[in-house]
Amino acid sequence: MSKKVISPGQDIVASMVPEFKKRLQELIVEEGITELDIDLTGVEMVDSVGLGAFIATHNTLSQKNGKLTVINASDDIYSLFKTMRLDQHFEIQQG
């Protein structure tokens, strides 16, 4: 099991998602990371495409028996993920 923390440091929105997904893919597929923490420090907004990136990452890791954890989510993002029941798929920790 190899673990890594990735900190996007900016809002996770459509404009940055392709590059972000590419980085995530490198980590999981090429570097073999199976336990991934996405650190949301400094992230204030996640749009629908961004939500899709989280779910795709979760799906990818699940196929490899890995685990996604979202850490340091702001109050708003934490609340959104809980309302949308994403906490039933992966762990979300408030900042």
């Binding site: 597929v29 907004m45 629908s48 939500l51 959104l80 949308m84 029941r85």
Partner: protein, 603 residues
């Protein structure tokens, strides 16, 4: 933004006030026995319903779950299916206490176990229901989605409660790309929009359709299903949400038997008998008063600006009226009859006596004395623990009588604990209460004990009548605790890296989101000191924004009681006051105004 901090703070304030009212009303109900005042029972039902709805909007799952269970029990009382005897009220009060604690823990993710209260309340509901719906409390109903790939699993009783309130149950289907992203909407606003139309009982993503990172062709749609309870009809909801008929399905056949249960003739539709807007909340009342006062203050300022010296007395009188009004609001907010809060000590003692199988009579004598509600709440635990220790002194006796007498001196409230029969102790003996003493000291209060043959053991707690509270967050800076006033804190950044700090215009700055935040200096140290700090509290004083570097910050709100500084501390201008924390630590309260003023002019 879905939920800002102010909204949460308003919810906390209103809920605390509502819970205090509910406690009083429950005690009144207990005293009424079988002849209960239904309007009072409905008021409690409605109050808890409002708390649950708020919790639902703020996604406070435990608060929502527990308030739902209390609401279920109150629903039974309102429909005369359950008598609020002392046992029932005791369980409800324990639930309310638990809600109080959950509200205190909102900022720390409601990190608390509610299983015990949940089981007690569910048991109460289940015990009195008719056999045909008794099982609904524990049974889970499966509601399949139109795609047949997913199923909602909802406790049946929750569905029955929604139906009893005249609501319809719908499944909504959205594609978050097409219906939200492409319409330039954010998920935050989308969820809020749905919640304006009813209660989101549950929701689910079709996560398989979204695919993996490697499956680029997938991810073009994000199916998202919502189970919504709404008072709106199918046509009204479709129109109001602006959705098409294939996106909405009313759940009927799957819950047909529950509809029947909820339509039993002896049951009333509670929601239709209670107006949601039948009373103004405490917050609204206070806002109205504050608005009136700010108008008055504006008149006073105009008076000063446009009138002759001779008329200044009019302006002065107006300002005095504003000050009087503010004092009245402060007084209304926090000063309560001691008996209305401290009765909980009696209940705690009763629980202890029950568990220890001894008889304890607790006599609370406090007349009409009023104490600040926050002080009262902080006193409950230590005083309870001290009484438990008193009981243990005489544990060979099967019957103990303890008196808590509250009196008022010039500037202090004095709580005196004693045995009603002083001779019960045959020799001079004293209690150890180091932990309780810490909590009491944190309130600027002191505790002493004395022993005399005539009076027995006397324990006196002297609490100042007026304390200055600062709500804030606890931070550790250089191994010293600080309380940073809540109203100055705008954000908190953690896990910082060295590269984000640098020097600019003779000031140390922190780069965050293309902005440079000037860093305040608590002490004169070099640049390397700052770049080793792991947290930055972003503060605001007036229009000045700056960062306060810290080693760590705990985003759990504290009500710190300001104390006078000692002479040594007084020499440090960046510290405004000190306070004891109830874990025995001393904390400083920084002078935020001083820190802001010390920044270079440019900033």
């Amino acid at each position: 933004m879905l939920i800002d901090r102010e909204t949460i703070d308003i919810y906390i304030e209103e809920t605390n006030q509502t819970l205090a009212e509910i406690e009083e009303n429950l005690l009144d109900l207990e005293n009424m026995g079988k002849n209960i005042d239904m309007s009072l029972a409905r008021r409690v039902y409605h109050a808890i319903y409002v708390i649950r709805n708020g919790a639902s909007l703020l996604s406070l799952s435990k608060t929502k779950e527990l308030s739902q269970k209390i609401e279920n029990v109150m629903g039974l009382i309102c429909t005369a299916r359950l008598t609020p005897n002392p046992e029932v009220i005791n369980i409800l009060l324990q639930g309310i206490d638990c809600l109080h604690q959950l509200i205190e823990l909102i900022h720390s993710n409601e990190d608390m176990d509610i299983d015990e209260q949940s089981v007690l309340l569910t048991g109460l509901t289940s015990a009195v229901l008719p056999d045909n719906i008794k099982q609904s409390v524990t049974e889970v109903r499966e509601i399949p989605l139109p795609d047949a790939k997913h199923v909602f699993q909802i406790p049946e009783f929750n569905i029955i409660q929604e139906l009893e309130q005249g609501k319809n149950i719908y499944i909504l289907r959205y594609d978050l790309i097409k219906d939200v992203q492409e319409k330039n909407n954010t998920p935050f606003d989308f969820v809020r929009f749905i919640q304006q139309h009813g209660e989101m009982i549950d929701s689910v993503f079709d996560i398989k359709s979204i695919g993996t990172l490697e499956e680029q062709e997938l991810g073009q749609e994000m199916p998202y299903f919502v189970l919504l309870a709404s008072t709106l009809s199918y046509e009204q909801l479709t129109k109001s949400l602006g959705i098409q008929s294939h996106q909405i399905k009313q759940v009927k056949s799957e819950i047909a038997d529950l509809v029947h249960s909820s339509a039993e003739p002896h049951q009333q539709k509670l929601a239709s008998t209670i107006s949601v807007h039948d009373r103004k909340t405490g917050h609204k009342r206070r806002m109205e008063l504050l608005n009136a006062l700010s108008c008055e203050l504006k008149f006073a300022m105009d008076c000063f600006a446009h009138t002759q010296d001779g008329k200044l007395s009019l302006g002065k009188a107006r300002i005095q009226s504003v000050l009087d009004g503010l004092e009245k609001i402060m007084h209304q907010n926090n000063n309560v009859l001691a008996s209305k809060v401290l009765w909980k000590i009696g209940r705690n003692i009763r629980d202890h006596a029950y568990q220890s199988n001894i008889q304890v009579k607790f006599d609370l004598q406090c007349g009409m004395i009023k104490i600040d509600r926050r002080i009262c709440n902080q006193l409950i635990d230590p005083v309870t623990q001290i009484i438990v220790k008193m009981i243990r002194l005489v544990q060979n006796n099967t019957s103990v009588q303890i008196c808590l007498n509250i009196t008022k001196s010039e500037d202090r409230i004095i709580l005196t604990l004693s045995f009603s029969n002083p001779q019960i102790l045959t020799q001079e003996i004293y209690l150890e209460f180091e932990n309780e003493e810490k909590i009491i000291h944190a309130l600027c209060a002191d505790i002493t004990q004395s022993f005399a043959l005539s009076t027995g053991l006397l324990i006196k707690i002297r609490v100042p009548q007026n304390l200055f509270f600062v709500p804030g967050y606890r931070a550790v800076i250089d191994n010293q605790n600080y309380i940073i006033p809540k109203f100055n804190v705008k954000n908190c950044l953690t896990n910082l890296s060295e590269s984000m700090w640098h020097e600019k215009d003779s000031c140390i700055v922190f780069d965050f989101k293309e902005q440079s935040i000037p860093v305040a200096k608590l002490s004169n140290t070099d640049f390397s000191y700052y770049k080793n700090k792991k947290a930055l509290i972003v503060c605001e004083v007036g229009k000045k924004r700056f960062g306060l570097p810290a080693d760590s910050i705990e985003m759990l709100e504290w009500d710190a009681v300001c104390q006078n500084l000692s002479k040594q501390e007084d020499s440090n201008s960046s510290i405004a006051a000190s306070c004891f924390l109830d874990d025995g630590h001393i904390a400083f309260i920084p002078d935020m105004g001083f820190l802001a003023r010390e920044l270079p002019m440019k900033w």
